[in-house]
Symmetry: D2
Subunit: 290 residues, 4 copies
Amino acid sequence: MTTVGFIGLGAMGRPMAANLAAEHEVYVHNRTASVATEHAAAHGTTAVDLAGLAPVEVVITCLPTTAEVLEVADELVDHLADGTRWVDCTSGDPAASVALADRLAEDGITYLDAPVSGGTDGARQGTLTMMVGGPAEVIEELDHVLDRLAERIVHVGDVGAGHAVKAVNNTLLAANLWAVGEGLVTLARSGVDVGRALQVVNHSSGRSFASEVLVPQRVLTREFPATFGLGLLAKDTRLGRDLVSASGARAPVLRLVTELFQVAADELGDDVDHTAALRLIERWADTELS
Amino acid sequence: MTTVGFIGLGAMGRPMAANLAAEHEVYVHNRTASVATEHAAAHGTTAVDLAGLAPVEVVITCLPTTAEVLEVADELVDHLADGTRWVDCTSGDPAASVALADRLAEDGITYLDAPVSGGTDGARQGTLTMMVGGPAEVIEELDHVLDRLAERIVHVGDVGAGHAVKAVNNTLLAANLWAVGEGLVTLARSGVDVGRALQVVNHSSGRSFASEVLVPQRVLTREFPATFGLGLLAKDTRLGRDLVSASGARAPVLRLVTELFQVAADELGDDVDHTAALRLIERWADTELS
Amino acid sequence: MTTVGFIGLGAMGRPMAANLAAEHEVYVHNRTASVATEHAAAHGTTAVDLAGLAPVEVVITCLPTTAEVLEVADELVDHLADGTRWVDCTSGDPAASVALADRLAEDGITYLDAPVSGGTDGARQGTLTMMVGGPAEVIEELDHVLDRLAERIVHVGDVGAGHAVKAVNNTLLAANLWAVGEGLVTLARSGVDVGRALQVVNHSSGRSFASEVLVPQRVLTREFPATFGLGLLAKDTRLGRDLVSASGARAPVLRLVTELFQVAADELGDDVDHTAALRLIERWADTELS
Amino acid sequence: MTTVGFIGLGAMGRPMAANLAAEHEVYVHNRTASVATEHAAAHGTTAVDLAGLAPVEVVITCLPTTAEVLEVADELVDHLADGTRWVDCTSGDPAASVALADRLAEDGITYLDAPVSGGTDGARQGTLTMMVGGPAEVIEELDHVLDRLAERIVHVGDVGAGHAVKAVNNTLLAANLWAVGEGLVTLARSGVDVGRALQVVNHSSGRSFASEVLVPQRVLTREFPATFGLGLLAKDTRLGRDLVSASGARAPVLRLVTELFQVAADELGDDVDHTAALRLIERWADTELS
């Protein structure tokens, strides 16, 4: 049993911390403290302020962006012992995380970037996929902690690589989602039955997670349940784009998609579900998918 | 048992006509006549010239583009009896097919556009998906013929709707494929293990048919087997784009992808596999995916 | 002196017909007949219905789109004598105009496409530039008519070439305008004085008609005077794009610009000035140019 | 008379330093020292190593990119006196220049970013336009130096603003140039006389510096004189794009143009003239502009 501090009890963090608590001693911290108190009551964790995380062996952060992780680090680093491991599950900024890892290393703290995918369902069921950047031996050492969070743990490279893969994955999600939106609106305006067209695509070479899962469950139902905000996906595409720039690759499609998601968030707001971006394509064509 | 004429014994047409012959009387025709003769010898079909198709109840065309279908129609239409059904499995042009249907109707011939997806494997195994545009009662009437070709037959709308869905599906394939190419080249240049990154994407929200099947089987293996030519996919994206224009939808992403596939075909040739388009992204970044 | 029929008394047509009347006998026609009556009273022209154009030697059309020209042609063609010349100053569709020219030729009428540029000021002052497609000898024969309308008459090719050049010119206008809008909004958000930046650009290599004339006179003044509607420019970019498609050229930038102008017209309406498209860039960045 | 050190005797720097020497005492430095020796012999300047610049009151840098400026600064800063002014005429990176200015300020050195436009002709004739970022009083104080270099000196904002305006100007140049290339290739393939079409555009609303000067002088002549390398313009578009990202503006067109210029430099090399980018559009369409 390991003593773990979990920071960030959002839609993902709450079930992840609860799963951890089944096997480990878990201290929880949240900006709005009452959320931590409720979590403690419900799941047998212990709510603390940042200073209260001093005794933990492993810190886990699960925050909206790297900006919040850096704020926490500024305050927390002086409280942590030499040898602490820091696992950052935020969908974060690769370059900023490399810099943070260097800074934490000066205090004897080893940082891993370990974002997850699988959504809130995966978080609850412990079936997330985790992509980890950092030293292989530390990842191995933490296996008994990480395997409470994720079903599949993939070591993708050095520090920053986890965030890079997550940024690219989510930019691909954005690209596939926007593309199928454009395609279906075109078909709808051409007099084609959209539901049947989608059935065909989903048995054919044009299919994607976006076409198989998101469009039928969230768009055609007109529900757009806000489990993953448009503003967060727009942010992830910016991280993907910045990675493209830093890498020197040419990526006209991912850049255009990034721009379109910024426009969608400008026009529709950050808080709607990410799939609501398709409402913009619908609006431009005066056509609703259903 | 129905008398069927099958025109176009390419990589898809050969196994499709062979499957038909298991239950129906099949006359085959091919521009290079020896291909038809060989088919007849191997599969019990009858090789004929176009005039020899006069007695058939159903004509099936499976040609590279609508241009070839129109050429065949010019020559064939005078030979066909009133009441003949014409099933066009070509990945064709929606607008031109509507015009052809009107012209054939004057001679009492009913035209269905019925492109298929599933590749050469699906054609052999009879597991294709067929998307059909035209009158519901004719599709039903031909069910005993169509079900020898495809496992799944979906009526998507009036004449032209089948081609429209196929064009959009293939444009989505192009979009998803190009996007994952850009993303993986970016990761490769960022020092990330591409194979592991792809494993993560394929368990996450960024996955697509392109990432799950095409990239691992055709790109990372460096095999690029030329079963579906880049020139044909480039043509399909042009059909998708023309449909966007005709529909009045806004589709900046599909238009950009279309343009990039034309450039890829310009630079790499029409005859390489469609997945070789990613070689262009690799070349621009001086980075090979493997 | 030649007898000329002038159809379409819009913002461009009114002063053009008035200039013609200084030297020729001009019959005018307009969908809203009162506009023609007023023109006759003010400029010594004669207001007629379409049938009243029978005696003219030269028909000039100056209409919003080729659709209106085709409507007029349907009704007018039976009234016109063999040997009539038809000069179409509409910013029209190249392909449709070639078809119209063929049809008119059957009745002995020679069609020239002759769109103009120079705006309402140029129309008033007779300083327009006219780009003409059609047979050189007919253009020469009509020189004494055309030179009342335009200061510069350029024969750019066969029928359709005039419309093609106009469509490309206006698509370049759209591209240059949108680009300078993106650039200036970027500078404004970077704390740079936009007026001074524009002064620099206009003495440097980034300058264009859009940066030298349109932005200072129409955008920075916040006047956006609606002399050339956004809907019409959006239409012209579609004509440019269709020409790209027909030509087989690759034009990712012009295609993206076309798409953005459609979106701008969707969001802002067809009737605002074409320069108001920059309001969309401003809105997306929450920044006003001034 | 002021003692000025001039670093970077490239195609722009040589004539600029020569003009300065007509009125001021000029020390020149160049990485390849022989270039400085020749300049001294020809123009009455004094060739020195970096340490030899210690006595100057004003340092001027005119280097390919900010990377070279930073290298020079590392070595030079210890030699310079408190109160030295540093005028950086490089087409540089806004953000990196702000950081450099802060660092130099610690040693009492005031940095201005002061890139120029007008090309080698303007440099020779002293008719450049200079866009300056930094404190107004320092710009005023240096007026007697700057006015030997440029005819027009525009103060566009704080440190970094000069580079920002230059980056945007050059990105607009790239956009306008690429757009007219796409447009003219389209017209050429449509059977239109390109020279006449360009004449029309240059009297119409689609005109730009690219269409009026670059295309007639460099492209249609097939000369592509390498006075401003494609690699440098590609770099400037990256600076423009990074400014867009930092600013939070949306700029899909400028981003696409940036990507296309990177591809052009990948395919054609950095050292060809920037106008040779149009060779790529020509190649894709198998059509030469002439």
